[in-house]
Symmetry: C2
Subunit: 276 residues, 2 copies
């Protein structure tokens, strides 16, 4: 999917919501645990209930890998289901991968060929040759970690370069813009650091930002939109736990749909305020 | 496995070789491609031929994930085979993971519970809470990326902190030593940066270092040993392509064994020179 198509979908659905499919087998409602593949059954119902209000889904790989190959199978079934039933959806593998060049090529093969994701989150520490292999695919995306939503972000991401005075996350933003364009590169910026979004928008006016941390982690959607929205929206705001675990009972999908719709309605307002 | 047990194995086998099981299905000898699980068959023969000369194996996850859930199944079979037949071996998941705390816990569950690895490679960018969940397991290890062997290492890892003047990889070393000890934390240091090993040994005299980049990537084993060996050896030197693809024919396992033995004999000399 290219940037224009993503923006068109945002306008059509009046939403820039990404639903995080962080499906923990220990938190799945009890009535599903007897199913052949409880993780897939859960995902399927969540997707059906929320797809009208979301433009993207983002399974985090850790949840699937914790179940070994069976978890990868659940993931593959989930991707195939979304692709077939909701072809307009932007699909993100939240994998935070990154390795030397020839190895990153294999990760790209995994997520873009074996699985049909639109985007993969990538960690920047190993530099250019660890990131670029993911850019060798037309209409596929790297989403590079810049400023993350967690406490550990303060350990290294704010270290200032003795030559430029810039914090590391800004150097990641400026350096990586030589590797790709706003057509194949997005950035992760945590909603818990929303006050930084203004500076980040000055450095990257056009790139889409994937913003986790709204909801359970404490970030504010209004502040994210105020500081981060650009003329093509430029934001995908993720919510995981607040939607997929809105209820632990048989009504979990219905409640997830309601939670997604509530966010979508707020997003509609925020898009209107921006004239979009 | 604890540090003492690892050192004892190194002394016994007169080797600090780690064999990288970077098994690319496209490079497997033709006579194996008809097998039910060619990747596992290949790994099994490689392990049987090299286990006498190696103390560790390191499958890189990218190679398995490029085959989807079937690749994860081959990985699980490989781990199980090594655990049962060679219980003395140190098993490293070269996964370069790292995510917010609760998510890293699930990666730890994947590699230490679902699979029975001894260690996981972890990327440092997201800081303490992304690394520590891997340390909640007795006798299991984090191997943190410090200075990697690739060209992209120069993009961020050498950026100097405006307060301390230290390059980022050194800050990663000093900061992370507050998170763990030499009993549960190792570091990745590329053999292509062997001249840096002296400085690194001053910062981390006791920690084991996992050193990739000898062989195909151009690093020198002698220089690595000269600059990096400590009184408990403190090194695991990885070789992948030079061993597992020593031959593309039916004699691939025999040739792999010979390649591993050649390195082991050099390692024996280097251990002797150090009085170990």
């Amino acid at each position: 999917m290219n940037r224009q198509q993503l923006f068109e979908q945002i306008q059509k659905k009046r939403s820039f919501l990404c639903v995080g499919l962080d499906t923990d087998v220990l938190k799945i409602p009890k009535h599903l645990t007897g199913e052949e593949d409880p993780v897939f059954s859960f995902n399927k119902e969540i997707v059906d209930a929320t797809a009208a209000f979301s433009v993207a889904y983002k399974p985090n790989l850790a949840f699937y890998e914790s179940l070994g190959w069976q978890g990868w199978q659940s993931l593959e079934k989930t991707v195939k289901y979304i692709r077939e039933k909701y072809p307009e959806i932007f699909l993100i593998a939240d994998a935070k991968r990154g390795d030397i060049g020839n190895t990153s090529s294999l990760y790209a093969r995994a997520f873009f060929e074996k699985l049909d994701f639109d985007a993969v989150t990538v960690a920047p520490y190993m530099g250019e040759d660890s990131v670029k292999p993911f850019m060798n695919y037309a209409n596929k995306w790297v989403i590079l970690l810049a400023l993350t939503s967690n406490k550990g972000a303060f350990d290294f991401q704010f270290i200032r370069d003795d030559k430029t005075g810039n914090p590391l996350f800004e150097t990641v933003l400026t350096t990586s813009q030589n590797w790709g364009t706003a057509e194949n590169l997005m950035y992760v910026v945590g909603a818990t650091k929303a006050e930084k979004l203004k500076e980040i928008r000055e450095i990257t006016p056009d790139h889409f930002l994937l913003v986790p941390g709204v909801g359970a982690q404490g970030g504010s959607l209004q502040e994210v939109a105020k500081n981060g929205m650009n003329s093509q929206c430029g934001l995908l705001v993720n919510s995981s736990r607040g939607i997929i675990y809105a209820s632990a009972n048989e009504d979990f999908a219905e409640r997830a749909g309601e939670a997604a719709r509530t966010i979508q309605q707020e997003m509609d307002m925020l898009l209107k305020e921006k004239g979009l």
